[in-house]
Amino acid sequence: MRLRLAAALLAALLGAAALAGSGERSAGRVALPVVKIERGEACVAPVEEMRRNHMQMLFHQRDRTLREGIRTTRFSLKNCVECHAGRNTGSVLGEEGFCSSCHAYAAVKIDCFECHTPMRQARAAEAAR
């Protein structure tokens, strides 16, 4: 009786472990975007609009700022990074970075941070020191 109970328990444990394993594998195959918003109550536009059009917003803002000297903060990249940088890393890049995890999922390369700092302002100042 005791033996049979132990065998059943073992089988149940093994089954659970196998299930958990297969679950992990299926989640691990696709790098799901990590959307952790660290600061701020609301974005500058509704989420749906941001998801579709954030690149256009940044694209227009960059020309206005650089060429004309208009430095409004609403669509500025610096403002994006301020809210969306991770609490621990202080960056929008990295494995769980707000920008990089989603862009990895969508397989779209971001060029912004080839030149711009991905770090929140206070962190960027520290890193440069």
Binding site: L66, E68, G69, I70, R71, A124
Partner: protein, 241 residues
């Protein structure tokens, strides 16, 4: 309203405005500030006036620029970026030695803008000459065209940029006249440092503003442009050269 009365009211208003200003608050600084929504205007022309007689044998301007814009090199002077440098001049005949800071001269007719094939090198309405790194392809025509050797090409990947000063491999860069500071109503880092720790040789301001110190001094004192023969009408002027 009679002209006399109008004049009297004008004078009394000016006197009241002068009296209302707190001590230490200068009209120049008030005039410099521009709201963030407002585009740079062609009514202004930013410039620097460097008095070489007061230019001390130091490099606080270079250090301040490096600190502000984050172009600290990697120890390879042949390829490291340099936005501002101290140049030493020595007259072979008399032995008279001078030292002066040299950076982008922010020309009215910049050769770097003429030669740029993508339009990345451009002159802002208020006279500041910049590189749009979004469209710069790194061809380095502007580096060759600049008579002052003011431009640098970035050869290596850059990390730890300042939030206000994006820099990246494969693009050309030069002095921006601290455009991010100017847009906030501050003076460029080099001029601020020179006036604080150096010989107080640099004056920054609007060349078109009749009330600005730089305008007044350029009007009343002799000054010169480097390579004036090229008729570029530089925004950076020198005294005592």
């Amino acid at each position: 309203m009679t002209p006399e009365r109008r004049r009297f009211l004008g004078w009394s208003a000016a006197a009241a405005a002068g009296a209302a200003l707190a001590p230490g608050l200068r009209l120049v600084e008030l005039a410099l500030a521009r709201s963030p929504e407002e585009a740079a205007s062609a009514l202004q022309r930013w410039g620097l006036l460097v008095d070489i007689a007061r230019c001390a044998d130091c490099d606080v301007c270079v250090t301040a620029c490096r600190e502000e814009n984050g172009w600290t090199g990697s120890g390879r002077p042949a390829t490291d970026a340099q936005w501002i440098r101290k140049v030493s001049l020595r007259d072979r005949g008399t032995g008279h030695a001078q030292t002066l800071p040299l950076m982008c001269q922010h020309c009215e007719h910049p050769p770097c803008v003429d030669v740029c094939p993508t339009g990345a090198s451009f002159r802002r309405a208020d006279g500041i000459v910049l590189v749009d790194k979004h469209t710069c392809i790194g061809c380095r025509y502007c580096v060759l065209a600049c008579p002052f050797g003011a431009r640098s090409f970035i050869h290596e990947p850059v990390v730890g940029q300042k939030p206000d000063v994006p820099r990246g491999k494969g693009t050309v860069e030069s002095c921006t006249l601290c455009v991010h500071r100017v847009d906030r109503g501050q003076t460029p880092a080099c001029a601020e440092a020179c006036n604080r720790d150096g010989g107080a040789a640099m004056a920054f301001g609007d060349l078109n503003d009749a009330s600005a110190e730089i305008h007044r001094r350029l009007k009343s004192e002799p000054s010169s442009q480097i390579r004036a023969d090229l008729a570029l009408n530089t925004g950076v002027r020198y005294q005592g050269l």
